[in-house]
């Protein structure tokens, strides 16, 4: 990293980056002026695409986004982790709209890499405190009654780099460890019942994956019986390899690490296993050195996805759509407020639709931007009455040594040119 900092090349490219955003803004204004000056050749002249034929139906049996959208991809931050095999990348939420995340750009988090596991080789075992320890094939799972639900999956470390201060200049990197898909799966309670599990309230369900990390986690029985799904489809099609093909666990509203991929075993136990992922990781240290564990629920959170550092305002003053995402692991998003002055005054945004429980909600604030600087913030509320806290409120309660569960209000500084930057405000 030191090399990066000293490199004149990098420094030059940083300037190019900054200039790029400003130039983009200027360029668009100029473009609009040209069109106003005279007839637009895109309209007055016959274009190739209006004259020649296009691609045939079988050109891409499984379609990919058009090349002009090739920048809308998952990205990682190379210095975050020791190896890309045990690492994370980020959903390009700055460039998406609506609520559903396409599988192909939904963030990945692997502890020992994404594995290729054929349906034919897939086995799911239920054992432990059950009357009948069972083994299911993939085909068996398809014969249980199934349900469809849309849920967000957020890594507990989402926004984790921002605890100490404003770090990464892009909503993809500050908030992109999240995706939102429509899952098809079997309620976990159905499988527990099939095996004759002891479902008394003090029991636990330990789940693990078939990959080398196995990533085991303990889930209290109450949650296991509530809304947990053993899922095999997302957004209507098979799960992607990187999301646990052929079967993953869906644990609505709870931290993504518990959504075990390549699910191979469900064990009913009489206590939490206290695995590596629920002791040494996914725990947070308070200022006095005490750590908290079992912080499963993802609290209400929201962020403005546009404008944002990767989505500068390029059209100049006038109508502006401020857009963002909100979610809560406790239930539905009931309200999102937006501030343009760093939190002094707030106005209520328009929700794309009434929020689904434990799913992403889209919000919009349709405004007439006069070209003056803004300190943009969003603040979510959920149906428990919880209000998304400021960074200062979170730090007051938890100190600065936390890693996980940072659901603070994010601030983007938008300057008069429309360029946005990740900042902290007083």
């Amino acid at each position: 990293m030191d090399d990066l900092l000293k490199s004149p090349l990098k420094s030059a490219s940083r300037r190019a980056f900054l200039r790029g955003s400003a130039a983009m803004a200027a360029g668009t204004v100029a473009g609009a002026a040209t069109a106003a000056d005279g007839p637009d050749p895109l309209i007055t002249e016959l274009q190739d695409w209006a004259s020649y034929t296009g691609a045939g139906v079988d050109e891409t049996p499984y379609g990919m986004p058009i090349e002009y959208e090739s920048h809308v991809v998952r990205r990682n931050v190379e210095w975050l982790t020791a190896s890309p095999i045990s690492s994370i990348n980020f959903t390009p939420i700055h460039a998406l709209d609506g609520t559903i995340t396409p599988q192909g750009c939904a963030f990945e988090r692997h502890h020992s890499g994404a594995i290729e596991l054929r349906k034919e080789d897939y086995r799911l075992m239920i054992n432990g405190l059950v009357d009948r320890p069972l083994v299911f094939t993939y085909a068996d799972l398809e014969r249980f009654p199934r349900e469809n639900h849309v849920y967000f999956c957020e890594c507990a470390a989402n926004t984790g780099m921002e605890w100490a201060g404003a770090q990464l200049n892009g909503v993809q990197f500050t908030h992109g460890m999240i995706h939102n898909m429509e899952y098809t799966g079997i309620p976990l309670r159905t499988l527990l019942k099939e095996a004759g599990a002891d479902i008394s309230a003090d029991k636990w369900v330990y789940v693990e994956g078939a990959d080398a990390s196995s990533n085991g986690r303990s889930i209290p029985m109450e949650k296991a019986l509530d809304d947990v799904l053993v899922a095999f489809k997302a957004n209507g099609e098979a799960l992607r390899m990187e999301h646990g093909y052929p079967v993953r666990l869906v644990v609505p509203g709870w931290e993504g690490n518990m959504w075990v991929k390549w699910l191979r075993r469900i064990e009913v136990t009489d206590m939490a296993v206290e695995s590596r992922e629920e002791t040494s990781k996914y725990t947070d240290v308070y200022e006095d050195g005490t750590a908290r564990k079992w912080t499963w629920v993802m609290d209400a959170k929201s962020v403005i996805t546009s404008p944002s550092p990767q989505m500068p305002i390029t059209h100049g003053p006038g109508p502006l759509v401020v857009s963002g995402l909100a979610w809560s692991g406790h239930g539905q998003i009931t309200r999102v407020d937006v501030s343009k002055d760093g939190g002094i005054t707030w106005q209520t945004a328009r929700l794309g639709k009434q929020g689904d429980t434990k799913a992403l909600t889209r919000f919009y604030l349709d405004m007439d931007w006069d070209g003056s600087p803004m300190l943009l913030q969003a603040r979510a509320m959920d149906d428990t009455g919880y209000v998304q806290p400021t960074k200062a409120q979170l730090r007051d309660k938890r100190g600065e040594n936390a890693v996980y569960h940072n659901n603070c209000i994010q601030t983007w500084y938008v300057n008069a040119e429309g360029v946005a930057e990740n900042v902290e405000v007083s």
């Binding site: 095999i85 075992m125 239920i126 009948r132 639900h149 200049n169 590596r276 079992w294 006069d370 428990t384």
Partner: protein
């Protein structure tokens, strides 16, 4: 004649639960008036119940009136709950009707063989249940560790590059940069054994024998100065070992610590006197089209041309030398 309160109190209990549920679901958009009227009724009934208790001995008429009210209230509660459940279904993220729950098992899958369970059920509980028989000493552990672990974790478990540090860091958990190692942080020894045996070494998981695992764990304890060099770890003495940070954890306390304060109507105007930028992003992230990303330091500093917003003014001021008001906040 204490009959009246006995009927009423359970009814009120149910109402309380129903109101809680309905309120949670309908916060912003639905049924406030219905809930408000129910709440009013509950208050009314509370008062009546109290007075009914006092005058119960000669208030047959009152009691029957209360019974009637309780019945009415129960009907209303049933309506609210039905409405709430309908709402939960439509807005509450159910794309399909709930899957049926079979009275008997579906009879799918097959019984697991004992050998299959033995092959996969290898987790170790905090009390040591699940450990196989075996043992390993520190010196054997040092050799195995050098071969299997040191490439990432270092010869002395000090960690290489970004790979985890396994030793040291004692009493740093309250510092600015806590060093969370097996010795300083991990609360259970079972976790170490389980993880090493099941998921390590990275790239060749599941290849370590039980004895090798005991030896590696013994060496990690030694590298943390938690045992002497003649220490032998086995399934027999495993449960006796208490980790340094065994009492260092509390269960999620957000409900008391945070939710109790943060579940309140938020401020909308004049929420603070001033908003100014106190920190700018540390890293700019470039996004090359070929994938991945490069991050570079943002050398922009806090400067005079950053805006400051103040309560009571609908303008952002630039506290530059001129001190002039430059921009107005759009509404």
């Amino acid at each position: 004649m204490s009959k009246s309160p006995n009927i009423l109190l359970p009814a009120l209990g149910v109402t309380g639960i129903a109101l809680g549920a309905a309120f949670g679901i309908s916060m912003s958009s639905y049924g406030e008036d219905k809930i408000a009227s129910l709440e009013a009724r509950v208050d009314q009934l509370d008062a009546h119940a109290a007075s009914a208790a006092d005058i119960a001995r000669d208030a047959q008429a009152t009691a029957s009136a209360e019974t009637e009210r309780a019945a009415q209230l129960e009907t209303q509660v049933a309506m609210v709950m039905a409405e709430a459940s309908k709402k939960a279904k439509s807005g509450g993220n159910t794309l399909t009707e709930p899957a049926p729950i079979a009275a008997a098992a579906y009879g799918l899958g097959r019984e697991a063989h004992a050998e299959e369970i033995a092959a996969w059920d290898v987790d170790v509980m905090p009390d040591g249940r699940g450990l196989p028989e075996g043992s390993g000493d520190v010196w054997t552990g040092e050799e195995v560790f050098a071969d299997a672990c040191a490439a990432c974790h270092g010869d002395f478990a000090e960690g290489v590059d970004n790979w985890p540090v396994l030793a040291g860091g004692f009493d740093t958990l309250g510092d600015e940069d806590p060093v969370k190692t097996v010795g300083s942080y991990w609360p259970y020894l079972s976790t170490v054994w389980d993880y090493v045996h099941r998921s390590m070494p990275f790239g060749y998981a599941g290849s370590l024998s039980a004895d090798e695992t005991y030896a590696i764990v013994a060496y990690i304890l030694y590298s943390n100065d938690l045992v002497d060099d003649d220490f032998v770890l086995s399934h027999e003495n495993f449960a006796d070992f208490e980790m340094y940070n065994a009492d260092g954890f509390v269960v999620d306390d957000r409900s008391d610590r945070e939710y109790s304060e943060w579940r309140a109507e938020p401020c909308m105007e004049n929420c603070k006197d001033k908003a100014e930028i106190t920190m700018r992003s540390v890293f700019l992230v470039e996004t090359p089209p070929e994938g991945g990303s490069n991050s570079i330091m943002n050398d922009a500093t806090l400067s005079d041309d950053l805006p400051v917003f103040e309560a009571g003014e609908d303008e952002a001021r630039l506290p530059a030398a001129s001190g002039s008001t430059v921009v107005a906040v759009s509404e």
